[in-house]
């Protein structure tokens, strides 16, 4: 070997930064309908390709095409559209409420509505999601009352979590929605444990873990894959790749890997990549993965390719790190628009009905907000009690907490 040259550190950079023209030429998008649909009991090594492509159903003309099409009736698809619209209106109102000081914090899922909304429809009662803070669609599509969500967001006196949790950190066992943690990634391996428990008991329930592109770098992602792989846990492991982790582009977490889905290969876990802005595709893949789990065939890793249109949270301003117009250039379009066009094409929906439903849902959300606000918002009206702050640390309050509560005069 000749005298070695100096090494240098490779630090991945996104294609563009503020001021640059948005550029998604690096995102390879196959035509809708072109990716095959294997049987659910396929051997993982036979479908490695599915981790490097994008499963898509809705084409540019708004038609559902290919082997993954046809999992939903028109009525179900209509319901999906309504769910997504409701999530979007809900997000917009809560964003405004935060700006008005009615709560401290909010997180939208703008542009990602299809993923949680469609996934929820692939589950059965008793199944459990282990979500992140960006899966409000699971609750909305699952019929969880909007007013309860708002009560939590406002930390008011009807907040089911008694003001203890940051806004949007819901918990709803009744609706298959595990308590959200502020710590990234921890829920992923808990989902595996929950699924293992179902298998240990000989039950039929399955679990779904959720994680963001950035958070796949967390160590509990690995723990989850290791345990899921070893015990063939009946779990669907979802990765929502919305291209950004706060200010950090997905290339930092992905590194030299082609895709996040490919992470499954090292574990023998079948991995699929799907158009996250295509409600029909998401549903079809979710159903496929859920069926695998239900049939004791083990875990599936699913990467949803989407784009985080809004800021990370109300504490964030993305114009500091990415071009303002980047979301408009996102090549997979808008999930609501795409499903709307499909349903109009099917003759079961129209621009008018869309506008009308939007008005209805605005009214519904507003009514829910009025009701929630009757119970107070963060800085005015009803509040959870100070006593509540001391309750629930343990099942029974131990002596030292009783002393402290007394000291606090409550």
């Amino acid at each position: 070997m000749s005298e070695p040259k100096p090494l240098s550190l490779h630090v991945p950079q996104p294609a563009v930064r503020p001021g640059d023209k948005p550029d998604f030429s690096g995102v390879h998008i196959p035509r809708a309908g072109t990716v095959p649909r294997p049987p659910v009991d396929v051997a993982p090594e036979e479908i490695r390709d599915l981790a490097y492509t994008i499963i898509r159903v809705l084409n540019r003309d708004g038609e559902a095409v290919g082997p993954w099409a046809g999992t939903l009736s028109d009525a179900d698809a209509l319901q999906g559209l309504r769910d997504m619209m409701k999530v979007r209106v809900f997000d917009a109102r809560m964003l405004m409420a935060q700006r008005q000081g009615k709560t401290s914090f909010y997180m939208q899922c703008l542009g990602e509505e299809a993923i949680a909304c469609a996934f929820q429809k692939a589950l059965s009662p008793g199944d459990m999601n282990f979500p992140t803070y960006r899966q409000q669609g699971l609750l909305v599509a699952g019929g969880y009352p909007l007013v309860e969500m708002m009560n939590q967001i406002f930390s008011n006196d009807a907040d089911p979590l008694h003001g203890r949790q940051l806004p949007v950190m819901y918990s709803a066992r009744s609706h298959g929605f595990f308590s959200i943690s502020g710590n990234l990634g921890t829920q992923y391996v808990q989902a595996v444990g929950w699924a293992m428990a179902s298998a240990i008991k000989g039950d039929t329930k399955i679990a779904a873990g959720w994680i963001g592109d950035g958070s796949t770098a967390e160590s509990d992602f690995h723990a989850a894959l290791v345990f899921a792989s070893t015990y063939k846990a009946p779990v669907v492991l979802n990765i929502v790749n919305n291209q950004w982790a706060i200010s950090t582009f997905q290339g930092i977490a992905r590194g030299g890997a082609g895709t996040f889905a490919a992470r499954g290969h090292g574990f023998g876990i079948p991995a699929l990549r799907v158009d996250g802005n295509d409600y029909l595709a998401v549903h079809a893949v979710a159903r496929w993965a859920a069926e695998r789990a239900r049939r004791n065939l083990g875990p599936t890793l699913v990467e949803y390719v989407t784009y985080r249109v809004a800021a990370h949270s109300t504490s964030d301003d993305p114009s500091a790190y990415r071009p303002k117009a980047e979301s408009d250039a996102w090549p997979l379009g808008d999930p609501v628009e795409r499903l709307k066009n499909y349903l109009i094409g099917r003759g079961v929906w129209s621009e008018d009905r869309h506008a009308q439903y939007n008005a209805e849902v605005e009214a519904e959300v507003l009514a829910a907000q009025r009701e929630a606000e009757r119970h107070g918002t963060l800085h005015s009206g009803g509040k959870p009690s100070v006593r509540d702050m001391f309750e629930g640390v343990y099942r029974e309050m131990p002596p030292h907490l009783v002393r402290q509560r007394r000291q606090a005069g409550v």
């Binding site: 918990s171 391996v189 808990q190 989902a191 444990g193 008991k201 290791v226 070893t230 343990y394």
Partner: protein, 334 residues
């Protein structure tokens, strides 16, 4: 019964009574654990209820939390307390807070067993006593038995408890009481009264201390191995010390402590963990507050030095009967 047998017996009883109790950890299944605490459980209850795991402590606790949320009662083993840190996030951020943050919608009734303490020439990564890292965390209970009887009763209570319990097993006590005289032959538990362990189901309730040696001159607060060391030190010095075995660090039985110190007017606290920010600091803070006007001398602490646990200098590090005895005499002189 040895402490290992008592712990195994506790799990057997719990698994027999409740099909939701599951046991897992590294080398815990077929082999029965490196200290053999789970020996035979896989054969008895099947591989779905007692199994080996991949070497990932966060995964062990994380899956246990998921299972507990489902409705099971996992009792997991961390092979050595020194290896609990990779699981610390799952314990602190998740298990400890799940009930609170979900307002009881989900709970985490799980027990995390781990061998703790030194005295086996295990060096810095087989000797640690990390209890203070758990007592600082709201939502956890922390238990340290000092003998087979309590180990069984406390472990059953821990598994049946609806909150997450950290269960620290002083490994130097596994096969016999140890009073710090490392140069003397080990007496087996079969020759010790607390080696007599009732059959079947019983509990030692969490949160209750017990006076192991009554005395009038000074109160010694201890737990685990140090209970035996404290008794030996009292015998050796002739100081009429009252030795309290805390058994549960959190919730703490402050009543028993307070009653004793009010009587004796003197107190020392002993533990094997490093001194600074050890659980002894909390004990001192509580006692000086509760008993200020009865205290006749400063509360002394005897603890591991503020260094990693060394290999060769193990017996210079370990707070043995000599150091405890000196602290007793000092408390009497103070």
């Amino acid at each position: 019964m040895t402490m290992i047998e008592a712990i195994r017996d506790a799990m057997t009883v719990a698994m027999t009574r409740d099909a939701n109790v599951v046991v897992f950890g590294e080398d815990v299944g077929y082999f029965g654990g490196v200290f053999r605490c789970t020996q035979g459980l896989q054969q008895k209850f099947g591989a779905a209820r007692c199994f080996d795991t991949p070497i990932n402590e966060s995964g062990i606790v994380g899956t246990a939390i998921g299972m507990a949320a489902y409705g099971l009662r996992p009792c997991v083993e961390i092979q050595f307390a020194d290896y609990v840190y990779p699981a610390y996030d799952q314990i602190v951020s998740e298990a400890a807070r799940l009930r609170y943050r979900s307002n009881g919608d989900f709970t985490a009734p799980l027990t995390i067993r781990m061998p703790t303490g030194g005295g086996i020439f295990g060096g810095q990564t087989h000797s640690q006593s990390p209890e203070a890292l758990f007592t600082h965390v709201a939502g956890l209970k922390t238990v340290v038995p000092s003998n087979p009887h309590d180990a069984k009763g406390l472990l059953i209570a821990a598994i049946e408890d609806d909150d997450p319990v950290i269960f620290l097993e002083p490994k130097r006590l596994y096969n016999g009481p140890f009073d710090g005289h490392h140069d003397r032959p080990v007496t087996p538990w079969s020759k010790h009264a607390l080696g007599e362990v009732p059959e079947g189901h019983f509990t030692v309730p969490l949160g209750r201390a017990v006076v192991r040696r009554p005395g009038a001159a000074v109160t010694v607060l201890a737990y685990g191995t140090m209970v035996h060391v404290a008794i030996a030190a009292a015998e050796a010095t002739g100081v009429d010390a009252e030795v309290i075995d805390l058994r549960t660090l959190l919730p703490l039985d402050l009543e028993t402590i307070q009653a004793s110190v009010a009587r004796t007017g003197r107190c020392i606290v002993v533990h094997e963990a490093t001194l600074t920010s050890g659980f002894g600091a909390e004990l001192v803070a509580l006692v000086q507050e509760a008993c200020f006007y009865s205290l006749e001398a400063p509360i002394g602490r005897v603890a591991g030095w503020d260094t990693p646990y060394p290999h060769a200098q193990e017996w210079d590090y370990f707070p043995g009967p000599k150091r405890v005895g000196e602290a007793l005499l000092e408390a009497m002189a103070g």
